[in-house]
Symmetry: C2
Subunit: 588 residues, 2 copies
């Protein structure tokens, strides 16, 4: 469906090349170690293209496969009862011995969260920067995978050889520290993978997106650029993370009581700015929420945050501290039901109760799908007397993803022959490919592909050639993939109108009712209000059964069908509802 | 919880009055017809304060009650299987003979949608402008209530006497034509109700919000202003509806194929602008979607739209028309599952299939909670090859609600003694009350109330005095209110992990198992993948039963408890899931 068959054969290519003056010929700088028979590079997204989350990209040449990122997705509304979603690893199962390693661009869950499930099946090394691996270690510990997994720390000067591939790391600014883009040298040319990035000229940690290095690869010749499409709908430039510092400064200056800030625990730069504002305004910072405490510890141990002396207090100190002194940094900015902030808003948090003059800051995005939950938290906080400050009314959040002008800058710096928009819903990918056209990358050289589509690159051309099995694998409790769409459909049906169970026991000898019909319901209606209807249902089913010819009475399948039909009609007529009907008919 | 007990007694009031120089003393201009014993005006919101939707405000003095608006709410995600939500009419049931009428400010469903349910119980006259009543008639026809309901058309010059109340109508600009604000003269003073409004200096129909009339009441003395809080988070001024015309003009000029526009069918001004652009660019307009066709017909019949000759074509003409000639105006801008646009995006619409060069315009807001559905529609349209234009990337929508500066203008024009923010979530009401403070309405004179809170006004003071029963009544199929939170909780439980049913028949004589355990499941897992577990479950339940002492075996309640416990443990251990367990134990 909608697969774009971009064929750029020799001939087409040349005519196109004329139009793009600054394209350099792509030279192969490394001899291929792969078998001669398969001198094509296959690039296959297993997730993240045509959706938000599940980022996982595969590069295959001959006998070597490397994987970039291995992310999860949080379940959408329709995925009833599902805890997490991970990519489908089917394609890799038959090729497990080819996998040389997984390279992780940064420590966000949509890039790392499927790793434990992946590593349970595939014992291969994982490459990442110090903070990225620090966060991954925590996850692997939980899954008891830390000991058996080889983790290799990389930095901006590292060159990693993985089979026929050589990977270099390019620092990028993002809403988590220590993110990198990748330059993947392959036997057919260099591929640039942007990772999640933005151009921030005043990053909190001073680490700029290394445009010079991107440009270096550009001048040496880039076969293809794969770039982050998340914010392609936004015109202009993204704001610097440092702008938040100013907003915090205003809030801290005006606050007459405690300040409670909710943010993503992985946003180390944001945490740093909270630390700085706390210190500047002579307050004490208390961390709250498991992931906030953990991520702070990891970032601190690894030297990614600078903690002014004496600024940290413990939650147990809270009663002792004057409220002019307290800043609480907590999780739950998305209104997650069990998070610290939601519990605070519901007066359900053991240590933290909202008091008059408390200011609560949601320093985070309203992620689509979470608006209602976030609004509920804000409303509840207001009802308890707090003042609440959030993205819609104050500049307390900036995005970690590049806007249109930044995306253009990356394209112009890397001067790719081919362009592959990644990391976005389909609309983002379309808009990103149109943006590429504006800077001179023609449509014919842009691969508007989705998960599973295979792009084959050789030294002369590139084209989409078929696709492989991909999908969303649902994690529900301990089950990985055993809840499929059929199960979800049943849950959906149950969720809308509940279930009605009818039990009939039939005397084997006489073929008459020996017990029942018993009618039970859940989620259909309030039974005590509907006793009359239940009685009517029983009577109807009984009459229906008694009216059946004896042969039909002995046919259990037939009786079940008739019972269902009978109840379905009644419920439709009386209530206009369609619960799941579950007839149980047993011969005794 | 969080109720604000605003007591403004004589004394406090005077001290406050000094601060607000431009406040006029409130004179009672009309003699009270009510009994001397209850010379207080009660104002009670039955819906719309602390939530979006369900707008319904009640004014009670002596033996007279009037109601302003009677709206519905579309169900939130957690309201599983619910079709609609209406306010709780409990308070009115004991006072039905006091109700003098319902005054409707405009024709949107969140102001009119509960009318059919209300009018089934209370046969009172309904007052509204021509278009508002035109839309209401359509609804009442459906519910077979049209004949028995007295509908009274009002205009800007009408004065309606309803018991001791006199209502005047003040034209306001909004995203539907023919909206009004109200001046309600009561025995204790005049109350201004803004309705849903914005200040649009260039409205499509030329009907401005009548600030002069608001100002007239202001100079005569306004007891209280109740104003629309929807967009209080937005700084500055809202854009004029006419701005959309420009965006349409650009889109129409550039379109190489058909143009498909999705909009709210009640947004008559938007429809007019589509008509105008279609005419200007020499295309033909085809209307699609039941509510679009109906509302167009009503607005046209009543003279609210100006249809250029020959511009309308029928859907059946579509195959005959050149695609350069076609504009389709359709419903479904919120990604509603059964709407025309969603079906088009899924290639599931009989007459309309997406073709190359089609441009689809979503001329509407991304209503919070609908983002995912809207994004799905946009992605699907892109996948089918259309270009898609929407609020986030182009100015194809403006809001119908006033921004901060407009809200201030209304306050300054009406110079109310008291201020009551209405029509918004709690956060909006809080922010609106803070905005009022900026223009000099002190906190003590602002009533930050929610549904059910009763404000009592007399000639000297006003205060919140207790509250009445209010709530959300769920409509599910034909049932009104029979699905309560307990039923919703069951549906929620079923939706997360499904249901497992265990059937055991016990021999009455021997107290041994005569049939079963039979185990059935739905929504828990894929049964054919889990045969082994089902077998294990049967075995476990059997062993458990056989291990019970004979007396326990005869105690059906006990057996049920044990069966549940047994299965719950197994499912938790094996799958970490908690389906609803439904043990059925019968003695035979």
């Amino acid at each position: 469906m909608g697969k774009v068959e971009s064929k750029v054969e020799n001939k087409t290519e040349k005519t196109v090349e004329k139009k793009v003056a600054d394209k350099k010929p792509v030279k192969s700088r490394r001899p291929s170690r792969a078998r001669r028979s398969s001198n094509e590079l296959k690039v296959i997204p297993l997730g993240g293209l045509g959706q938000i989350g599940l980022n996982m990209m595969l590069f295959e040449y001959g006998d070597d496969i490397i994987i970039v990122d291995c992310g999860l997705m949080f379940p959408e509304d329709y995925m009833l009862g599902i805890d997490l979603v991970i990519p489908d690893f089917t394609y890799l199962r038959k090729r497990a011995d080819k996998i040389r390693g997984v390279v992780i661009t940064h420590g966000h869950e949509d890039h790392t969260g499927a790793l434990p499930f992946f590593l349970r099946e595939f014992n291969v090394p994982v490459y990442g920067t110090k903070l990225t691996l620090g966060l991954i270690k925590e996850k692997l510990k939980e899954f008891k995978l830390l000991k058996k997994t080889k983790l290799i720390t990389v930095k901006s000067t590292t060159k990693t050889t993985l089979g026929c591939f050589e990977v270099e790391y390019i620092p990028v600014a993002h809403s988590i520290a220590d993110g990198v883009g990748l330059a993947i040298k392959t036997p057919v040319g260099t591929i640039i993978h942007s990772g999640d990035f933005k151009l921030d000229q005043t990053p909190v940690d001073g680490v700029l997106t290394d445009m010079h290095k991107f440009g270096d690869f550009g001048s040496k010749g880039v076969l293809a650029l794969m770039a982050d499409s998340t914010n392609v709908e936004k015109a202009g430039y993204s704001l610097s993370e440092k702008e938040i510092g100013r907003a915090f400064d205003d809030i801290f200056r005006d606050a007459k009581g405690r300040i409670i800030i909710a943010a993503f625990s992985s946003n180390i730069h944001r945490v740093q700015q909270v630390l700085d504002a706390t210190h500047k305004h002579k307050r004490k910072l208390i961390l709250n929420g498991r992931s906030m405490v953990n991520n702070f510890r990891i970032a601190n141990e690894l030297g990614y945050i600078n903690v002014p002396k004496g600024v940290i207090a413990e939650l147990s100190d809270l009663p002792k501290l004057s409220k002019y002194k307290v800043v609480l940094l907590t999780t739950g900015s998305q209104g997650e039901p069990m998070s610290a902030l939601t519990r605070i808003s519901l007066n359900d948090h053991k240590q933290i109760k909202i008091e008059k003059n408390d200011v609560v800051v949601l320093s985070s995005k309203f992620i689509p799908g979470n608006e209602k939950s976030i609004a509920n938290v804000i409303n509840s906080l207001y009802r308890r007397g707090a003042d609440v400050i959030y993205e819609k009314v104050s500049e307390v959040h900036v995005s970690g993803h590049a806007s249109q002008e930044e995306l253009k800058i990356l394209m112009n710096a890397t001067k790719p022959k081919y362009f592959v928009p990644i990391h976005g819903e389909y609309r983002h990918l379309v808009r990103h490919s149109k943006l590429a056209q504006k800077v001179g990358i023609p449509k014919e050289r842009t691969f508007l592909i989705e998960n599973g589509d295979v792009i084959c690159f050789n030294k002369k051309s590139a084209r989409v050639k078929g696709n492989v099995e991909v999908g969303k694998v649902f994690i529900d409790g301990k089950g990985v993939g055993d809840v499929c769409n059929m199960v979800i459909r049943d849950r959906k049906h149950l969720s809308e109108d509940g279930i009605m169970i009818a039990l009939l026991l039939i005397n084997k000898r006489t073929a008459e009712l020996s017990y029942g019909p018993e009618i039970l319901a859940s989620g259909v209606m309030l039974e005590r209000q509907n006793e009359k209807m239940i009685e009517e249902a029983k009577e109807l089913v009984k009459q229906m059964f008694n009216g059946l010819p004896t042969e039909a009475k002995r046919d259990i399948a037939e009786v079940k069908t008739e019972v269902s039909r009978c109840l379905r009609r009644l419920l439709n007529r009386k209530l206009l509802r369609r619960p799941m009907i579950f007839p149980i008919v047993v011969e005794v």
